[in-house]
């Protein structure tokens, strides 16, 4: 596919800002941290975007820096902020917003929103993506590389178990019932096929947030300074997860590795898995059987967290650089580009308008599973995010793993996690 062609299509904005702002007349260099493993297909896409933007805006040089995982990218962005030259623009986790604000590393986008057109653009994003892009009445991040948790199921195994291969579970009770039917045990008591698998290594809180939202609980307030880990709804959600493994034995015991979960699914060791929409393309290429993608089953209500990255503007950059960065962000989030980006990567397109474009319609006609993410967004909630985010989520992660490995009762695990989070967050209120 020739990306140049498609990028060249909208050469409308070019030049206008460069003339209006003399500061931009000398070329601005726009360094830009991007969290991805280097060299993969995504870097080629980003490079093409950068080239396309430069073509339309010759005065701005875009320099993408591929910084590795999100975790590594935030480390690098923050250290660069503390000592040295931070990148003008970064794509970092939406959950890092409070941390970045506390470190005074970023500026809000609001000063750049001047015209009616700008305002319209800002309100064009899915509201659930803006939940953790805005706080205190200001917009600190612009959604870009976003995802959500969905359920993948193996249609072949459904058929074998006597289930309708076209009907995924829609409630917690049904999820358990299906999982029981889908679990296969041999004579010795060893399980050769699990009904369901929810990964719990690394960042279990994210998948767990699906369960808590479905149980009607909220893990943290919008100001990011108070958590509610010990809420009965949270405990109920954890109890459900723990029971799947320990009581009903339809979910592997102990910690389920995130990295091997797709492989477990391909190997038919598990019939249903929860994982990110970011895995769509991977599953599509590697699954040797028909599979389905569904919104997560509902508890008291349906729900899932959003995830992924936002654009952030560096505070240390010059106004001219910030202006150039803003321009790039607007440019790359137009419906056409958002649609193409989604089709190429499997990430969720960030605006409803993107789903109305021709490119998107063509993509989903061929691959309807890609629409599931969009359908889930109305019930989606912001990913858990607080001040001192890493520490506060680690408290929850540790509690979850303790309960899943059977060293603590769910209620106890969540009470301990809440105490720890309280200790950390007290000084932020």
């Amino acid at each position: 596919m020739d990306r140049r062609e498609f990028l060249g299509g909208t050469a409308a904005l070019a030049g206008s800002l460069a003339l209006a702002r003399p500061a931009l007349a000398q070329s601005a260099e726009l360094s830009f941290f991007y969290p991805v493993a280097v060299g993969g297909p995504i870097t080629k896409l980003i490079d093409a975007y950068a080239a396309g933007f430069e073509k339309e805006n010759p005065s701005i040089k875009v320099k993408p820096i591929y910084a590795g995982t999100y975790q590594e990218t935030i480390v690098k962005a923050l250290t660069a902020h503390k000592s040295g030259t931070p990148p003008v623009l970064s794509v970092l986790l939406s959950t890092d917003m409070f941390t970045l604000i506390d470190e005074e590393a970023i500026v809000p986008f609001d000063p750049f929103i001047k015209t009616e057109d700008d305002k319209k653009w800002l309100s064009s994003f899915f509201p659930s993506f803006m939940e953790n892009s805005q706080t205190g009445g200001k917009t600190w991040g612009i959604p870009f590389q976003r995802s959500t948790v969905v359920l993948y199921w193996n249609k072949e195994l459904f058929k074998e178990a006597g289930l309708d291969p076209e009907k995924p579970p829609t409630s917690w009770a049904q999820q358990l019932e299906f999982a029981q039917k889908l679990t296969k045990r041999d004579a010795a008591g060893n399980t050769s096929q699990w009904g369901i698998q929810i990964p719990s290594s690394g960042f279990p809180y994210w998948l767990f947030q699906g369960l808590t939202t479905q149980a009607g609980a909220t893990l943290a307030n919008a100001a990011g300074d108070k958590t509610d880990y010990a809420n009965p709804g949270v405990v109920e959600a954890l109890q459900y997860w723990v029971d799947l493994a320990q009581k009903h034995k339809v979910h592997p015991p102990g910690i389920v590795e995130w990295g091997t979960t797709p492989r477990d699914f391909f190997e038919k060791k598990v019939a249903m898995m929860w994982t990110t929409t970011g895995n769509l393309t991977n599953v599509r290429t590697n699954a040797k059987f028909p599979f389905g993608v569904a919104v997560l089953p509902a508890g008291k209500k349906p729900g899932s967290p959003t995830g992924g990255g936002n654009f952030y503007l560096s505070k240390k950059a010059s106004p001219a650089e910030q202006e150039a960065a803003f321009k790039f962000v607007r440019w790359i989030t137009t419906p056409e580009r958002a649609a193409q980006w989604s089709a190429d990567t499997g990430y969720v397109a960030v605006t409803p308008a993107a789903y109305e474009t021709e490119a998107m319609k063509k993509y989903v006609a061929d691959f309807p599973q890609a629409l599931v993410a969009r359908d889930q967004l109305p019930t989606a909630v912001a990913e858990l995010s607080t001040h001192e985010n890493q520490r506060v989520t680690k408290a929850l992660n540790d509690g979850l793993q303790a309960a899943l490995t059977g060293t603590k009762q769910p209620a106890q695990a969540m009470a301990d996690a809440q105490t720890e989070a309280e200790r950390i967050l007290k000084s932020y209120r």
Partner: protein, 288 residues
């Protein structure tokens, strides 16, 4: 490698009365081979996964088709050529500095009698225990102050003065006969000339043995390079491998194994070719 003809090691040139014979030898060989099989298992698996299609990563069937696809995919998926270059520059830079700095310091400690020598030696030995990895937080700040983050020298700097190297070379220099030193001086050589003409040539096995340890250590070092590098231009192989293998999409062992084999091939082949020389240089270097 060192070129010195050493046809047989001393131990095996005469019959060893304690060499196991008969049943004992068979038992010992079996034990050794069994252990070797366990030890080689990860490498063997890497070869298996790398040369078979992804479906066979977890299934061991003799009839599985062979492919080089994983290698091409891995090579295309990350700028390994650049990582190779970075690692090569890195280990060369570190080794060169370690040898120069170590030689000078070791010579002073071994053969100069001066005020403060013992204190200096103690201060150097402190690094044997306070390894640079323990000081990542402060060292990071220092390098950030020098504006060196994300450069190859930043990875190298904390390691270029090596207590281990200095210690080894000092031990070796101490075994050089004093008469050789005196003779060179009588002929009017300066201390530095004496060092270059007398000590350094005699310490060749030590340099080789130390070089092996240093190169394999820094070729595989991970934590510190992970912290101080951001970009393809400075990232060594290990960090490149990690960035490459940790993805949202889960683990693709076939490609990871192919990448692992590609990136460790130079060291593996090097050791295969020179293993006898390595062991002998360790022996003659007195690292024992």
């Amino acid at each position: 490698m060192s070129g010195a003809p050493q046809p047989q090691s001393v131990a095996s040139s005469r019959p060893d009365p304690y060499a196991p014979k008969g049943l004992a030898l068979t038992l010992e060989s079996t034990g050794a081979i069994l252990l070797a099989l366990i030890w080689i298992l990860p490498l063997a698996y890497a070869v298996w996964a790398a040369i078979h299609p992804a479906e066979y990563t977890t299934r061991f069937e003799l009839t599985a088709p062979l492919t080089l696809d994983n290698f091409t995919r891995a090579w295309a998926a990350a700028p390994f050529a650049r990582y190779f270059l970075n690692t090569f520059i890195l280990v060369t830079m570190i080794l060169a500095f370690q040898l120069v700095l170590g030689t000078l310091a070791a010579y002073a400690l071994a053969r100069q009698d001066f005020w403060g020598r013992d204190i200096a030696f103690a201060l150097i030995l402190a690094q044997l225990m306070i390894m640079p990895d323990a000081l990542i937080v402060e060292n990071y700040r220092t390098l950030a102050k020098f504006n060196l983050i994300d450069t190859i020298p930043a990875i190298a700097l904390p390691y270029i003065a090596s207590a281990f190297g200095i210690f080894l070379l000092r031990q070796t220099f101490k075994t050089v006969p004093k008469e050789l030193d005196d003779a060179a001086r009588v002929e009017g050589a300066s201390p530095l000339q004496v060092l270059m003409k007398v000590y350094v040539p005699l310490a060749k096995p030590t340099y080789v043995a130390y070089g092996l340890v240093s190169v394999s250590y820094h070729w595989n070092n991970f934590l510190w390079p992970l912290l101080v590098t951001n970009s393809v231009e400075s990232r060594p192989l290990t960090v490149g491998l990690q960035v490459f293998s940790s993805s949202d999409q889960g683990i693709d062992w076939a490609v990871i194994c192919a990448a692992t084999l590609m990136t460790s091939a130079p060291l593996l082949v090097g050791f295969l070719l020179f293993q006898r020389q390595f062991v002998q240089s360790f022996m003659r270097a007195g690292i024992k």
